[in-house]
Amino acid sequence: MSNEQKRTLALFYCQNVPESGEDNRRALEKRYGLSVRLFPIPCSGRLEILHLLRALEEFADAAYVITCPEGACRYFEGNRRARKRVERARSIIESIGLEKERLGIIIGSLKEQKTLAELSGEIMETLAGLAVSPVHEKRLKA
């Protein structure tokens, strides 16, 4: 099995992201299999740093969150909170020797609205060169 197949992304996304309903989620799960684990949340502001850390600890090589565009959050500041939390989570993982690029955030665009499927594809491309997380390396070798 190649590294790409073994690598897993935890993807948290606001339910406001275009075409992110149950059917879309199932289709994506079918497309990517175990490479992507999808976590719909009512607002990206609901995302806690702990969610990101536990994902990286338990199974993920990378964890991303997709938020509403700036100014478009239905709860006004959820996406801003998400951005700050991702930044803090990045500094935490960097302090233990993990690359901060394993955590990321995609803030939607009002001008060019992309679907969950499109954004998932873009994130997977971004992570193409990312190695399996050293947290899981030993487990995979066992």
Binding site: L50, L53, E57, I92, I96, G97, V135, K138
Partner: protein, 222 residues
């Protein structure tokens, strides 16, 4: 409330290095309010430590638990049934909490994960500010509810130093001049005459010099 900040993770890792089974113990009170040692932060620290340990190939166990308060015996005693499973406790309580747990379980090393900072208030979300040093002889009445010991950089009891500019302290330009605030506040109460009194030097023996302070209330005891 008591405020604290988490120690650098490298320092924490060095302290827990000799131990194999560690309980990360959070506190649901002051340190939860200042986002340093509550249930969330305990989970975050434990998760980060477990990842770090896995990467280093270390065989250690890090579990988590959060007490409502670590400084009250009735809560700390909840650890009685489970503390024997661990050879160290990493406490995310303030200094009072760390020591309360250590006093109750003296045979288990209790390691502090936080640096306890000051008594203060939550001024705004994510912003805590010191406003009391616990001098034991509160004079806030005379100064309109503004403590010159804590909030004046020079701890002056008898009027401003004269160095402030536009209401800002000359020692630290980020700090509003406490005496400007005192004068404004007492003026609004028509109580400026309180400043006509000369206040003697603070009696610090009420805070220092006799070991740890205590309060005993027999009416509160069994």
């Amino acid at each position: 409330m008591i405020t604290a900040e988490q120690k650098p993770i490298d320092e924490i890792r060095e302290m827990i290095a000799p131990y194999k089974r560690i309980l990360a113990l959070g506190c649901g009170s002051c340190v939860a309010e200042c986002a340093a040692g509550g249930e969330k932060e305990t989970g975050m620290l434990a998760s980060a430590l477990r990842m770090a340990l896995k990467m280093d190939g270390e065989e250690k166990v890090v579990h988590e638990k959060t007490l409502d308060r670590q400084c009250v015996r009735d809560f700390v005693i909840q650890l009685d049934d489970l503390i024997g499973d661990y050879d160290a406790v990493l406490s995310l309580g303030c200094g009072a909490g760390v020591q309360a747990v250590a006093d109750m379980f003296p045979e288990i090393p209790i390691i502090p994960a936080l640096n306890t900072e000051f008594l203060g208030e939550t001024k705004d979300q994510g912003y805590w500010l010191e406003n009391c040093v616990g001098c034991g002889d509160c004079m806030l009445f005379y100064f309109g509810g503004v403590c010159p010991i804590t909030r004046c950089s020079k701890h002056l009891l008898n009027g401003p130093c004269g160095g402030s500019k536009d209401g800002v302290c000359e020692v630290n330009p980020e700090v509003p001049c406490a005496w400007q605030t005192i004068i404004d506040r007492l003026s609004s109460f028509n109580a400026l005459d309180r400043l006509q009194m000369i206040y003697p030097p603070k009696d610090w023996s009420k805070k220092y010099g006799k070991g740890p302070r205590k309060i005993v209330r027999e009416d509160q005891q069994k």
